[in-house]
């Protein structure tokens, strides 16, 4: 057959696929409804059946009989259980916006980027051989078609003649077009899924066509086929389970790894979980998919038997029977259809697999490992979607090139099935971490990592490593000697376990130790807070499902809405960001123009959407960068500074206010205290006044009664008593006068009766008036008065009263032994300063502030009984203050009290008022 035709047909086929895909992606709701339905979904899952199924099943059946079955029986038999797992995994993934198997595991264990990397690497190493056999299958079919020779050797050509290379390039191109046209936050590719579903139909039809052709075209139905086939030597072993050289344990092992592969192969996970649009599809898929497996396996044994019978004695590779049988019968169109079937099986697998791997590589390897989160905040980056797509495209190319290299090195040494199973076993390592992760809360990150690492290492030394040795790429004798020369570490007979199929052997040890490590380490390690909450979310997904998970906050993070939006725009694009934010605003009745800070819920919401685009670990890192640090742009900085400034000002104002308040409070407290003290003083004063009044009254009353009762008293005695009565009456009058004075002084306006007075002569006059009292008390006086007049403005009566009061006090409190007084008057600056000082005991410090208050009496008992009203100094103070002056205690030369009076000087030298009244008629006046 002309290679041009083959290429042309292939290109047309690809064109059809591409057409389907783009129609679907551009399509309206009608097409979407067709696409989003359980049948399409189930058919897309049939990407499980690859070229390996298409060609390899027949090959395995031809060599091992029913031994090919477990790979398909596994998923088919346990489909109900699988779909229970799948349902839970889908719900979790929707909830967490998980986009790959690596993301799933990493997310479950506290969004661990380590696990993301580990799973990606295992998947990558596991899948590359798998992709390589697809390349091999396509290349083989191409070569067979081209040469129309059933005995082609595809292994020995230089690469530029190698059709496998060109096929690889074509597939790369195809995968890039399909998988990385745009960046969908949910990694949904409806077009691709539909194309894959279509391919499933093509490969099924092609296989059925070949089967029918072999059974009914070459042979005369099943009866004829098996009758002729039974003449073949050793044929029984193909038809009976007992006779097949597969133990029960091996059956079980194969079923288990097949189940694991069905669920967790990155492409299966992608199609079944990520591309799933409705978890309700699962119930239909749970019977459509097994039905599909059944249909595609019906003719495996007939074709195998037919091939074996037909090609008796020829060295035809059983893996190629599907193609070579039609060719041998010269049915080129059928052969072409078969080849297309094989191509669709291979291409759907390759495209979805590399897409899934590229998502894992970009989200779990590149983003968190090589790129610092800071880059995403760089202003110049703009929209990052194109960069992400670029990363994925490069990843696709790299994966396919690696697969091609593997194919070139190893591909020809092993059958399709063997290599496929190597991949399956690698993928099966995910089982403990995932199944444990969704049903066992106690499972920890450390447990998952330990299990995966140990399982992976065992897998590597028991499967890929020996293949490398056997193919001669590595020179080693470990296959015979064991690692480090220990027979217990022979790759095919680990710990002395011999006689098992190498796949089952590897699966047994790797999974057993994986599981053991997973459980043991989980039980002995402590999960982080995030792990605990993620474990909760995963295991109890049905509980959190209704809440959408968003209300289940792990961290109370805050970020600026602007930043969040910026971030979302960079990874999701402007339009989608708008939609996402609007949705949130609508749901929570928020107006983003009015708020600047995103609460934890919104941050989580944004993270989930970002997770869709770049994976949970990367999203966590990037969100953390804005949720923690402040943005670095100048504009943002200024905004923050402004806000900070405002806050600082506000807090300063607050501080001021509170200081004021404190001050007011303390003033109030002070006032209250003073009021209380005043109250007490008042009570004391009343007692004092009462006593002071009672005392003279007592004498007056008693003596007047005596006079009344004793009319016969001698004149002198009568006179004596009368004198006392008069004096005591005066005493009462004086007391009353002072109380009235006080009232007067306080009520009177200071302007009344004011004139310009010479203070010097006023002091002199007052001293003259008190001459008698001073002589009597025998107090030494030192008087210093200026010669020129000192003019002050004031009421001379009141000022005289002040001087009298102060002088009486000084006389009273002066040292009783050798009393001394200093009286000085001078003008200093703009004040007249009068000082009256005694040499008594002075005023105790505690009383210094009190003595000018009303009702205060100095109760110094040593100085004898105070005989005042407690009003004297208070009256002085009131008068002086009304004269705009001050009265206070000054420094004294001895211990005594020095009262200082300051009065403002006045410049007008008016005549002194002559009519100064002196209140010196009361000798006993000594009010402090």
């Amino acid at each position: 057959m002309s290679p041009v035709i083959i290429v042309l047909v292939s290109v047309i086929y690809m064109g059809i696929l591409f057409l389907i895909a783009s129609l679907v992606e551009k399509g309206g709701s009608f097409i979407k409804r067709i696409v989003h339905n359980p049948i399409t979904y189930s058919l897309s899952l049939a990407a499980y059946c690859t070229a390996w199924t298409f060609y390899g099943s027949v090959g395995r059946a031809a060599t091992q009989g029913v031994g090919y079955l477990p790979i398909y029986l596994g998923p088919a038999i346990v489909a109900p259980i699988l779909f229970v797992f799948l349902r839970k995994i889908i719900l979790i993934s929707k909830n967490q916006r998980i986009t790959s198997i690596a993301d799933f595991i990493s997310s479950r264990y506290g969004k661990s980027s380590t696990l993301g990397v580990l799973v990606t690497i295992i998947a990558l190493l596991g899948i590359i051989p798998y992709i390589s056999i697809q390349l091999k299958a396509i290349t083989l079919s191409f070569e067979i078609l081209k040469s129309s020779d059933v005995l082609v050797d595809i292994g020995s050509k230089p690469f530029y003649y190698d059709s496998a290379l060109y096929i690889t390039i074509a597939l790369t191109f195809f995968a890039i077009i399909f998988g990385t046209r745009n960046l969908d936050p949910n990694e949904r590719h409806d077009g691709l899924v539909t194309a894959v579903a279509f391919e499933s139909i093509v490969k099924l039809l092609a296989f059925l066509a070949v089967g029918i052709f072999v059974t009914f075209g070459i042979f005369d139905g099943f009866g004829d086929l098996f009758q002729k086939g039974s003449t073949l030597p050793d044929i029984e072993r193909l038809f009976s389970i007992e006779s097949v050289d597969i133990s029960e344990g091996e059956w079980f092992g194969l079923i288990v790894i097949s189940m694991a592969a069905f669920l967790f192969l990155p492409r299966q996970f992608h199609l079944a979980v990520v591309e799933n649009t409705d978890s309700r599809f699962l119930s239909k898929a749970s019977w459509i998919f097994p039905l599909y497996l059944l249909l595609i396996n019906i003719f495996v044994i007939p074709i195998a038997v037919g091939g074996l019978y037909y090609f008796q004695g020829q060295n035809v590779e059983p893996d190629t029977f599907v193609l070579t049988l039609p060719l041998a019968m010269d049915h080129f169109r059928l052969a072409m259809l078969a080849a297309l079937g094989g191509f669709s099986a291979a291409s759907s697998m390759v495209i979805v697999a590399v897409l899934a791997l590229s998502i894992m590589i970009s989200n779990n390897l590149i983003l968190p490992t090589f790129l610092k989160p800071r880059i995403w905040k760089n202003k110049n980056q703009g929209n990052l979607t194109s960069q992400l797509l670029g990363i994925r495209r490069v990843a696709i190319v790299v994966v396919l090139l690696l697969s091609y290299s593997y194919y070139k090195m190893i591909g020809n040494t092993y059958s399709l099935v063997s290599i496929g199973l190597i991949s399956f076993t690698a993928i099966a390592q995910f089982v403990p971490a995932i199944i444990g992760g969704i049903y066992w809360k106690r499972a920890t990150k450390s447990g998952a990592i330990s299990g995966l690492v140990i399982g992976f290492v065992i897998w590597f030394i028991t499967l890929p490593f020996p293949t490398l040795v056997e193919s001669g790429l590595i020179k080693s004798n470990v296959l015979e000697q064991g690692f480090f020369g220990w027979p217990l570490l022979k790759p095919y007979a680990l710990f002395g376990l011999e006689g098992l199929d190498e796949i089952v052997h590897s699966a047994f040890w790797s999974l057993l130790l994986n599981l053991a490590a997973f459980i043991t380490v989980s039980l002995n390690s402590r999960p982080s807070q995030l792990e605990i909450s993620q474990a909760d979310l995963f295991v109890d997904i049905y509980k959190y499902r209704s809440g959408g998970g968003a209300e289940y906050e792990v961290f109370r993070r805050k970020a600026k809405i602007k930043d969040l939006e910026l971030l979302l725009v960079r990874f999701l694009g402007e339009e989608r960001t708008k939609v996402i934010m609007a949705k949130y605003a609508l749901k929570h009745q928020l107006d983003f123009s009015k708020i600047t800070t995103a609460n934890a819920d919104l941050v989580n919401y944004a993270e989930k959407h970002l997770t869709g685009a770049i994976g949970s670990a990367s999203a966590k890192v990037i969100i953390r960068s804005i949720a923690k640090e402040e943005p670095i742009s100048l504009e943002e900085m200024f905004n923050i500074l402004d806000q900070t400034q405002e806050i600082i000002q506000y807090s300063r104002a607050l501080e001021l206010k509170s200081a004021e308040l404190e001050k007011t409070t303390s003033q109030l407290r002070q006032a209250n205290k003073q009021l209380k003290a005043l109250d007490e003083l008042k009570a004391d004063f009343i007692t004092t006044v009462t006593h002071e009044l009672r005392t003279p009254i007592t004498s007056i009353k008693a003596l007047s009664k005596i006079l009344q009762d004793n009319a016969d008293l001698p004149e002198s005695q009568q006179q004596e008593f009368l004198d006392i009565i008069v004096k005591e009456s005066e005493r009462i009058t004086r007391l009353i006068n002072q109380v009235l004075d006080l009232e007067k002084v306080q009520v009177k306006s200071p302007e009344d009766n004011q004139s310009v007075i010479d203070l010097a002569s006023l002091v002199q006059q007052t001293l003259d008036g008190l001459q008698g009292v001073l002589e009597e008390k025998n107090v030494e006086r030192q008087i210093s008065l200026p010669e020129q007049p000192i003019w002050v403005k004031g009421n001379s009566d009141q000022l005289t009263q002040v001087i009298v009061n102060l002088l009486s006090n000084a006389v009273k409190f002066a040292n009783p032994e050798n009393g001394k007084l200093w009286i000085r008057l001078a003008s200093k600056a703009e004040h007249a300063v009068l000082e009256i000082e005694d040499n008594g005991k002075g005023i105790p410090k505690k009383d210094k502030d009190l003595i000018f208050e009303r009702f205060t009496q100095l109760n110094d008992q040593q100085l004898g009984k105070p005989k005042g009203s407690g009003l004297g100094l208070f009256i002085c103070k009131t008068i002086i203050e009304q004269h705009q002056g001050q009265i206070f205690l000054g420094k004294s030369r001895e211990k005594g009290a020095n009262f200082v009076v300051q009065l403002p000087l006045t410049t007008s030298p008016f005549q002194t008022s002559k009519n100064e009244k002196k209140r010196v008629n009361n000798k006993n006046n000594s009010d402090p």
Binding site: S699, K705, Q861, Q862, K865
Partner: protein, 129 residues
């Protein structure tokens, strides 16, 4: 004791000389021998030398108030027979109580009624209260 005799000695203590004048006159007229003191210390001195039957005590006095004087009087074994009459301007119930607590037997307030005063003194002398 008979009126008119000078056997009954009364000590009057007050810092107001004019009150002492009145009290002295009233007591003399009743025939009591009157001793005078203008403060507590002086009163205690006198009591030691010439123990009276009655002490009439003012309360508000400088240096030592009447309550203290009464206490000091009662501290002495020999002074238990002395009657103490407070005569004071302090007239609250609390003051009265303090007076009795400190050994006073009668509590009179100023200003007093001459007859009441004399009657009280006589009664104290006669019945000892």
């Amino acid at each position: 004791m008979q009126k008119g005799t000078t056997k009954s000695r009364v000590l009057i203590v007050d810092d107001e000389p004019n009150i002492l004048v009145a009290l002295e006159f009233l007591l003399n007229k009743e025939g009591y021998e009157v001793l005078k003191a203008s403060n507590g210390l002086q009163a205690l001195e006198i009591i030691e030398k010439q123990p009276p039957r009655i002490v009439v005590l003012d309360v508000m006095m400088p240096e030592m108030d009447g309550f203290e004087v009464a206490r000091k009087i009662r501290e002495e074994e020999n002074n238990q027979d002395i009657h103490i009459i407070f005569l004071t301007a302090k007239g609250t119930d609390a003051d009265r109580f303090e007076g009795y607590a400190n050994g006073g037997e009668v509590y009179l307030t100023k200003p007093f009624d001459n007859e009441d005063f004399i009657t009280t003194v006589n009664e104290v002398i006669e019945f000892g209260v």
